[in-house]
Structure formats: structure tokens, C-alpha cells
Symmetry: C2
Subunit: 711 residues, 2 copies
Amino acid sequence: MTTDQGPKSDSHPLDTIFYPKSVAVLGVTPTPDTVPNDIFRNILTSGYTGVLYPVAPFKRSIYAVKAYRYVLDIPDEIDQAVIVYPGNVCHKAVQQCGEKGVKSIIMISAGFREVGPEGVKREAAVKEICDQYDMKLIGPNCLGVINTDPTSMLNASFARKMPAAGRIAFLSQSGALCTAVLDYALGKGIGFSKFVSFGNKAGVTDIDLMRYLHKDPKTDVILIYLEELRDGRGLVEAAREITRGPGAKPILLIKSGRTPQGADAAASHTGSLAGEDVIADAVLKEAGIIRVDTIDELFNSAIMMTYQPPPRGRRLAIVTNAGGPGVMATDAAVNMGLEIPRFGEETTNRLKTALPAAANIKNPVDVIGDARADRYSAAIEAVLDDDNVDQALVILTPQSMTDIEAIAECVVTGHERTDKPLACSFMGGRDVQAGIDILQAARIPHYILPEWACGALLDSNTFNEWKDSPEPSLEQLDVNAGTARAIINSAPAGYMSEDQCLGVLGAYGFPVPPYRLCTSGDQAASFAKELNCPAVLRIVSPDIVHKFEVKGVALDLNGPQAVRQAWDEMMGHVARIMPKARIIGAIVRPMIPSGKEVILGAKRDNVFGPIIMFGLGGLFVEVFKDVTFALAPVTAPRAASMVRGVKAYELLTGARGTEAADVQGIEECIRRLGQLVSDHPRITELDINPLLVGSADVGNSVADVRIRLAP
Amino acid sequence: MTTDQGPKSDSHPLDTIFYPKSVAVLGVTPTPDTVPNDIFRNILTSGYTGVLYPVAPFKRSIYAVKAYRYVLDIPDEIDQAVIVYPGNVCHKAVQQCGEKGVKSIIMISAGFREVGPEGVKREAAVKEICDQYDMKLIGPNCLGVINTDPTSMLNASFARKMPAAGRIAFLSQSGALCTAVLDYALGKGIGFSKFVSFGNKAGVTDIDLMRYLHKDPKTDVILIYLEELRDGRGLVEAAREITRGPGAKPILLIKSGRTPQGADAAASHTGSLAGEDVIADAVLKEAGIIRVDTIDELFNSAIMMTYQPPPRGRRLAIVTNAGGPGVMATDAAVNMGLEIPRFGEETTNRLKTALPAAANIKNPVDVIGDARADRYSAAIEAVLDDDNVDQALVILTPQSMTDIEAIAECVVTGHERTDKPLACSFMGGRDVQAGIDILQAARIPHYILPEWACGALLDSNTFNEWKDSPEPSLEQLDVNAGTARAIINSAPAGYMSEDQCLGVLGAYGFPVPPYRLCTSGDQAASFAKELNCPAVLRIVSPDIVHKFEVKGVALDLNGPQAVRQAWDEMMGHVARIMPKARIIGAIVRPMIPSGKEVILGAKRDNVFGPIIMFGLGGLFVEVFKDVTFALAPVTAPRAASMVRGVKAYELLTGARGTEAADVQGIEECIRRLGQLVSDHPRITELDINPLLVGSADVGNSVADVRIRLAP
């Protein structure tokens, strides 16, 4: 919770969007029920504390307010311009705004990036003018901006109504969704601090707005609806700062376009390109962002976090007058990860005294169908007083003798005695409404379904655990970056050769077994003798990517003689079938006995930048998609959680009669990989497949690797 | 859909519960706001078409209706008695009802099975009297029964209000949940045909009621809330009859107690024992029951199925004025298993003509934020006319120019032209309510969230596909049941010996490799010579379950000499470490080279009877729980879907460079196993682990088996 002061003392570059001293609406018409008219009327009638000017060519006034032909004609200073001209003329208006000294622009107009190449150009032109005059730009293609702070009371949007003031901020890429959200909130008595439809985010981005709201003393929770993750890494970095440490605020996000079909629809909607959703899921979680699927979930959790104190743990007490819903809530809570604790002895005694014999005094407490307020009151107070309980859920079904309003009152009273969060579910519809109104007035979150209450409590717990967890620090491992850089710089775009790959991995401290790039059968045989163990021969050629297909790999060669013979056969065969291939030579290395395998991968994602993947080899990855992801670079705790996060993890721990693997070694490889791809941006893909896994004393070894470089 | 006639023509034994000509309430008091008083008043004031009598000792009248001391004192015939006496005196009232010739009893009273052993006895006593006099018993421990059929109009319950008439039947084990459901339905304008709280189901069961509702011409959809699956197999059999063939009706079920904690709470609530939930999930699906998790899902789907025609396929068109929610709905639909088809050329042309250039004319159709009714109307009619579309979802967000009511009207008009189902989601709360009212009046299902609409459409599709799918017939396989029976009859309770197990499997046609139970080293060596391949020796003793632990297994024995030597070592070792073990001999069989393994299991479930399990061997079962279940016996299509139902199935198909397995042979083994455990009820557990899987020409072979017998 933050103190309740306006933003004026510490001015912020984006203040001019929410707290302009004067606003001009450019492109107003007198025709009611049009977007330009609605916006002007909204600002005029919502209590805006500054001065409003209509720019409406050829009109004397709009709603009796003196109108101007151009923004430059206005004799006073203008902080903010709201532009509603057709898209193809906006750049002229923006240019005039720049000349006028306007500080922020809300561009409602559509016809930009979302309509194709022509629009992209238009958007770039507008952006350039804004940058030139240092004007902050919201939009284009948006619903507008609302600030309920009484010092501003700005409704620069074409929403139907000004929402109530509250401590929830809402940011949306979709303007249309904003109108549904405002209507939804109105029905539930939910208020907002700031409300922004940012549309194409050509200027001010969602990330800029999040950072602003982090510092906004009027905002406790930040909600975002996104169709397109343009700068995924920037979002993650901002979210990490916002969701942890002093003044941390929860971020709840809906990112639509989860399925390929949904992403298609999103692409045709705001011209956005949805990233791979599984990666987004993993990465957003790693940044402390709580991702939800529906508008209901978004607000269910938001009101819990704004209305109620943070829970101290996951233990939930349930009080109900109906066994069935109690069971359903228990199921939901446990499935989600909450706990249903046993009560302490004192609580049990208090419940035994207060409730009839047929009641269930264990958690979930069933005060039975004929319960009136006295029983609810006793049960709620008893469980909230219990040290084994961190939060409570009160369920009510309207039976003929249920005094609904009295019970709502006693919930309010019971809750005032404690600093533990409480949620209610008065089930039904009409009869329970009066009770719900009492709860909402006292800011006790109410949910139609007990399952929703559990979901909201869970999110509240998740945030609180995250907020207080230390930000892990990134430790640089000792590597030979210069050697790796020299190899990478010498290589052309495309796949690196095997000796180059092994050289790079070796420089970064990966467990690469001894190898030598040989250029003759003699040299190969001699190195095989040195190795003194069964050997492998692998051809090296810039023209051969799939070695096995051209018999460019020979396995399990016992002794120098076998190596020399294999060399001759291999070179002969390749010369016959690929006469034009440039052959550099072949690598000789020890044959590693097969065993457990893991896969380490890296790729440079368009949205999130370098990403690291981990999974157990073969079927686990291919059939069960049993993999984990993280952003590179990877901290030590994150590497540990990546390895522990796969379902097949127990196979590495020595369970089921198998040998325990060198898990610490795997984690170190993950960190080395994260450092490698972060240090060398030319690496676009890297696969260590497999990393052969040995026990802790034997260690792991890189069996095969591919690295692809950008130009 | 069924014809709309009363039930009188074809009388049914349970008619007396819903259509009594006279009702006596036993245990009424004049005190308002008590259960007995509420029930009497509900029947009196809800329009009941028969005659009502209060039985209230020491009272002259209740609500001015003449009262009687005992039911036997009433001078007229009594069809139904509603009993609200305390639990410990109910048996006396029931006895008098029997003597009076009462035909059905609704026992509201609590204090039976749910309160422990004493209650169990009481319940049995009441049940016995009911059986003796052939009285149908609902309850005890329930809310009562409601029948909205105008020929009866019976509200024999302590619900607050009589619900509206409708075509949905609701059955609930929890009485308290009923009150919430009634209030919920009231708020949404949902009506019911029959409404039953069946409580402890001591007499008439949920299954009896389902069968009754199947024949009830007033009911289209059957909803059930269950805490306890007492007779799982009976439920499955009833459901299979109800959900397929002519007059099929959908069954939607909430079964609570999914988690162990939830099951605990359920146990303390109605004294029920929740079965293993994963099995229940599989088995209920196999019976055509649609299982849902929440009350909302239950009614979301129920209104879709009662209000709208059945869909012809899974292809969904979406029309929206807001891109964001369109994307979210697309995501939800695709994730659930619906399809988002491309439109035909004609539709595309119609949309192009009717909508502005900026609109998205692909599916999901975006008519854009400023759309009014004309655009909606054109889009809805165009997509519903498209042969590629089976159903439609209309999404609306309330923007400033959205004429909500006119759009609702045009949805209704557009829908009247077609026999394809349609759902709406007018998002928001207050502003959209007038539109929602118009939709509901026209029986167009409305959902607050587009995701809910998709869920309801999916359930409707699932039911329609199921209803028209042929009931697979069970083909008996050719087996030697007599031989198996003789072996089983000769065996004591507990684990059977290996030779007995193999004998039973052999008799049932499983691929058992050649084996012989030998009693001397000579005999073993001689059989090994006959086999003429590497052999295995496995000790047989009723005292040894874990053979490997006592070195009772010798593998890969090459030739008779090796077998004889292994025999001597094995017998010597066992004699030393388990001198008291009774050694019958050892089995000699060929060593089967290791390869792919599957597991076939059977167990006799308390709730569902014999169950068959299938999975791929080892880690797939143990780590990923990648298994499928079916009730025994197993039909051929079901066996096929069990094998195809595991995620690792592709490993059996020859994908990823592995050899294709004899899948047909595995399916046949599943069917043989189903037949075996169905034929021989003494088998309580059976595990073929592993069945070694070969290619189609080699075939599969049983490598190990354990069978446990009941006494």
C-alpha cells in the first residue's frame, strides 16, 4: 500500500498524459453519437479540472465552448491534444501540435499499423514528429485515457461512462475490450485509478505505462490486456522491478492469442505477431507476472489484492452451511495449491461449543443448513483466530431459514477483528444479492463460485510469496570469452563446423571430451592411439550437415588400425557420393558409452531474445514435451528450478534403481549456455543433444552439438 | 425433444413421488421459519393440485387446514407422506404410513447414515419397513422434491421458492446445494421440470431417478450433483441406455470429492466414500456422461442443450465488434476442440459488401467497434448461411455507439432463419443487461464470458456425437473358460503360483510362450534341450512372491547344462535362506529378448467392479501416469481407443525409427483380459507386467504375470 498523495511533487514525463492542465480535442464535430463528439462531451462532463478547447474547423462552438480552426489558433498553452481526425491527415495535426508546444498526444484515430504497409508508414511519420518535438504519444487506434484522480478527473476517451475511482489500473491493447471492462466493473462496484487504451503503442508503450503506474501513488494493482508482446525482454525486466522489493505491485496479465488460430486472429486485428506461447508462459512467470485467461479471473484476483491484506501463507479455512459446496471448494483449493489445515485444539473446542452436534467441526467447517448468523459468527471468529489458518472462505447457500443479511453483517464484523484475508461466496442469484451488497460495501471480495474465491486467494498468495523472495543475482562463470569470440568471428553465417562448436563449448567450460581435428588417416590413427580407448570418427565439412546420412560417422572403433580403415572407407564413400563437398578432415574422439541423455538448447526468440531450454533426451522431449524454458542469462536458482521442473526429473535423482546423475553439473552447463548465448549475439540456435549424463564422480559429457550463426 | 404430455397414460412406479393425489406432512409445527412449517406452507401455497393434510399432534389446524394426530387418523387415502420428525422416531411414523397404505415417502429428517453407526442402523430399519409395504422412499436427509408439471405443481421441499417450469431436471445429493441452484436459476430465468434432493438415497437411488427422467416427457436434460458414487456400474449402465438411441437425453454430472481432501470432507458430510477419481473420469466418459466441475458449467451447457437445436458439427463462426474478445474466444474454442473454419466464397463476398474496409471478414469476423445492428445482422446471417459453419457465437462489447437492444433483436431475427445453434456473449454488466433480457426471452443462451459459450457449445457437440454413435457390441472371444475355472477353483486366496497364472492366461488365449513346471534339474535340462534356445528358470513356491530377492530367477541360460547348474545353485540358495519355504519346483521357459513393453492390469473396484488398465511399460506409467482405463468387459472399439489413448501411443506405431508393434495383438489381449476378469469374480487383481511387444509378424508375449484371488 502506498500513501495517498497526488503525483505533482515528483513530476514524471508521463504526467502530462494523465494530468494535463489544458486539453484540446482536434477534430470535434457537433454530431452526437460519433466518436469525436463523445470524447469532447466526456471530458466536458466528467469533471475535468483543467481547461478544454475544441478544435473544429468551420464551427463557432461545440456544446457552447468556443471552437478553433487549428490548434495553433488557440491563444493559451495546450498540454495535451486528443486527435480524432481521419488517419490520413493526422500527421498535419501532429505537426501543428509540435509547433504549438503540446506535451502529450492521445491519438484515437485508426488507419495505421493495423491496416497494412500504408498504415505502417503513416504511423512512422507521426512517431517521428512526436519524437522531434518530444511529445508523448498514446495510440493511435485506441479508446483513450481515463484518470479518476480528483486533481485531474480526465476522461479523454469515448467510453460510455467515467468509472468510479479505485486503486486498480487497467491497460489494454484492445479499445473495444475496455468498454466491456468498464461496464463489467460498473456492475461489480469496481473502481479504477488510471485506465488506458494504448492501441498500437507507437509512442508510449505498455512497458512505459507499467513503470509509470509502479510509481503512481493512486495504484495498487496493475492489470494488462495484451495481444502482442513486442518487446518481451523489456516487459520482463520492467515486471521484475515492479513486482519485487519495496513498493512492489502485482501485475495481472491476459495475453490472448494462445492458440495458432487465436494468434492469426490477433494478427489480423492489431497487426501483431504472437510469440510461441509456451515460452511466453514460462518467461512471464519468471518475471513475477500472474497470467490469467479471462476478464473474470483478472478482476477476481485484482479485488482480492486491493481490498484485502496479504495472506501470510497458503492455509485456508472454509466455513459453509452446505456440505456439497464445501467439498467442491476444498477440491478446487487443493488442486490449485492451497492447503486445508487441521484446526488447533482451542478452535476445535470453540467450534464444538458453538455448533450443534451434527455440524462438521473439522475444516471445511459445516455449520449446517439451518445455521443463522450466530453460528456463522462463532465459526468465522474461531477459525480466523487459529494460528494454523492464514485466510478464510465463507460459503452460504440460501436455505429457508438463512438470515442472509445478518450473516453478511457478521462476516464484516468477524473480519474487522483480524488482519487475515477473507473471501465470500454467497451462492445463488437473487435472494443473496442484499448480502452481497453488504459485503461489497465493506470491501470483502465476493465471488459467485467458491472456486473463483480460491483462485483469487491463490493469486494473492503467489504474488506475496514472489514479492518477498530475493531477486537472484547472476554470477558470471569463469570462461574464456575471447577464444570463443575469435572462433565465432572467423565463422561464416550458418552452421558452424563440429571442431568450431567444440572449441566454443570448450572455451566456455563445458565438459567436452578430448578430440582432435585430423586431416589424414595417419594423424587420426595416431590420436586414437593416444586416446587408448574405443574411438569415434566424424567427418568435418562445411557442406555436410547431416553426417549420418553420408556415412560420415564411424562408431566404436577399437584401436588405431580400425580408425585408419574407417578413415579410408569414409573418405572414399563421401568422395564418391558428394564429389564437390569440401572436406576439412575428421574429428577423432572417444566413444562414450550410452546412458542417460539430456538436451540443452538455446534460441534467439523474436520477442524475448535468447532463451534456454532443458529436457531429458529423446521421448521425454518429443512425445511428452517435457521441457522447461528460461531467459538467458540464467541464474543458479533458476537453473536448478529448470532441471527440477521437468516431470522426468526423478530419473536423474537415482530413483527407481537407476544411478543418480550429476545434477549440479547439468545446472552448471545450463548457466554456461546462458552466458554463452548472452555474450555472443550471433548465435541464433544452439543444441547440445545429447549431453550424456554420468554420476557425480564421472560427470557429464557433450556428445553432440550444433550451433547456427547469424550473418 | 419429446412430446409434451403428462405421465399419466403410462404409469411408472415412481410417479407416486412426483404425482401424488394426496400428501400428508408428518411432523408439522405452527412455528414459522422452521423446516416442518416451511414444507407445509410450500406445498399449500405453490399450487399443488391434490389434497394436503398436516399431521401435527396436539394441534387442531395448521394454516387453517385441519390437522391430525397420526397419519392413521386421516379418513382419506394418502399417496405420499413427507416426514419431518426427528430421526430417532421416524421409524414409527414410517410403520404407520405402511399400515395406512402410503405409496411414497419423502423423508426430510436427518440423523441417519451421515451421523455414524447408530444412524446406519436407523436407516436400515426405515428401509426395511418401506420395502415391506412397497413404499418408495426419497431421502432421508434431503431437501425434498419439486415437480413443476401443472398437473401436479408439487413443492414438497423447504426451498425458499418454487422454481419456474422448464425442461431441465436436477438431481442432487446435497440439499443445501439445491437452494443455491434454485436461487441461481431464478436469477437467470432457468426453469425446471423435476427437482429432487435425494440425500442418503436409502430407497430410491440416483440411478432410479435418472431412469425415470429418461422416460419423463417433461424433461430434456438431466443434471446430477453427486458426492458419492455408490453403484458406479449401475450408474454407467443406466447412463449408456439414457444417452444413446431414440429418446436419448444428455446427462451432465458434478461429482465432487476429486481430491483426497475433498473426499475427506465428503465423507464427513454424507458418509460417502469417494472412489479413485481418475478411474471415475474415464468410466463416466465411457458411459456418455458429461462431467463438469462447477454449477456454472452445469447450467451453461444445460441451457444450450434445452434452448438450442443440436449442432451438426464442430465448426464455429464468431462475430464480434471487438477484436480482443474475438481472439480470446478463438483461443478458448480451439483449445477445447472446436474448429474455426474458413468461410466459403459467397460468405466472404457478402461480408465484404456489408462491412467497412477495416473490418476483418475472416473468421472470427470483426464488425469493428462502431458497428450498429445493420452490420451485425448482415454478418450473422451470412455466417449462418455458410455450409462450412455449424454454429455461431455473437460477441458484443458496449461501445458508445453500440445500439445494444437493436443488436439483440437482430440476433433473434437472424437466428430464426436457421436451425443451427447460436450463443451470445454481451460483455460487461449493466449497459448490456437490456440486450441480454431480449436474448433470454428468445431462448438464445447468453454467457457473460465468450469462453463459457464455447464450453457450452462443446458439450452440446460432445453429446450429439455420442448420442448418434453406435453402441459397440461386445464380441466374446474364443476361450477355454472351463480350464481356467478349474485352475482358479483349485487355488487358495492370495497370489496364484506362476504356473497357475500362466495356465489361466493360456486358457484365455494370451500369447504365453512355451513353459514347463519342472520338479527336478534333470527335467528342467531336458525341457531346455527341447526349447533349443536360451532359457529362463523361475522358482515356484507359494511362500515366495518376490522371486528376484531370493535369487529365484536365473536368466539367459545357454543349453541344458547351464540350466541344470542354475537349478542346483537356485535350490541350494533358497534352501539356505528360506529353509521353511515349500518349493514346488521351477518353471523353464525361453528367454525373450527385451524390447518394448506394455502393462495390462485389472482390478476389482469397489464402485465400478472390474476395471482394465493399459499403459506403456516402466517410466511411462510410473512417471507420467500415462495410462487408460475401461470397464471390463471391453469391446473391440474401446480396446482400440485405450491403446490409442496413451500419449506414448506413437511409440507403438513405428514412428521415430522404431519398429511398428503388433497393436492389434495388444488390443486382443485387452479384450481377453476384460473377458477373463468378468468371467471369474474371484480375481481381484491381475497384472501382466510386462507384455513384451513384438512386430506384427513376431507378435507379443507375456513375460510376467501376477494374479490375486479373493477367498
